[in-house]
């Protein structure tokens, strides 16, 4: 089953996503401790253009990269919700250098367009399938 289907099928973090209207970017980023400047860096957008996405409404960005990052952030949040981590702990993890990624933080990994790999590794670890 593809990860996206898997996470959307669960009841976790659905308040930040609606298939019709898109993502509640401001609230989703707040849950992960991602500030507008960091979101701009991760999505390679100008800070001013990010402000519109942080309006508090549901938005459906047309840009593939932004959408891609939002989808991955939403899945990361769903996994941590499943693990019952606090908002502060998740925010700290998003800025923790990872030995698996040569010291890059999860935010850096998202910026490199490799966020899906992080989601897959988190779910693989949850099922004990760490791959040796």
């Amino acid at each position: 089953m593809p990860t996206t289907t898997l996470l959307f099928a669960s009841k976790l973090a659905t308040e930040y996503f609606n298939p019709t209207t898109g993502y509640q970017v401001k609230a989703l980023c707040a849950e992960l401790g991602v500030k507008p400047a960091a979101f701009a860096r991760v999505t390679h957008r100008k800070t001013e253009s990010v402000a519109k996405l942080f309006s508090g409404k549901f938005v459906n960005p047309k840009e593939g990269e932004t959408l891609h990052v939002l989808r991955q952030m939403h899945q990361i949040l769903a996994v941590f919700r499943a693990m019952d981590w606090s908002k502060d702990d998740v925010a700290r993890w998003m800025n923790t250098p990872l030995p698996t990624d040569e010291g890059r933080t999860p935010l850096d990994v998202l910026a490199k367009g490799k966020g899906q790999g992080l989601v897959d590794r988190l779910v693989a670890l949850a099922t004990g399938n760490v791959g040796g």
Partner: protein
Amino acid sequence: MPLPPTSDLALAITAATLTPLPDEPWYRSVDLAVVVNLGVHVLDGTHTGKTGGRFNSPASKPTCYLAGTQTLAAFECEQAAMILGLTKPRSPRVTFAISVAGAQVLDLTNALVRTPFGLTYGELTLPSSHWQHLNRTGVSAPVQILGEAARARKDCDGLVVPSWLCSVLPPGTLPRPNNLVLFMDPGHSTRLRNTGRTITVHDHSKLLYP
């Protein structure tokens, strides 16, 4: 020692003797909360298929890794959690016993089986960072190439391999320090890809599979 060229590797795989797995359990340590809340199967191999594992290249078919003992299953997960930065208290893990009796595997812990592939025991147990680093540069590790070549053999269900812990712990520290790598059917969580054999998850608690 390098792997033989692709065609020779395929020939060596075809010529290798497969071993039927005895009726002994293998183990998997599972984060119960995530499995329940996300509805993931205990034998899920999709995500490791996508990210790559020691014996499967990134973007490969679903691959399932099981440990020889409960201790080993927990130990490997603990290490993976630490290097993924998951140092906060986590929900309890439950270890499931899993049976795959009769499955035909390539036993790479046997030097007679391993030698034609040109890989030493030490190369099979290099730190995870070795194959992970190669993958980040877009290259598959020799052990992953070997794994994918074994998957292509239609009567081969998987591999028995030494755990990487064998390279850091003195011999005899852990009983049965081996892992079982299974080539999974992408369409079915409990079925093997090549032979259609079924895998049994023993859940006597009936927590997940009543």
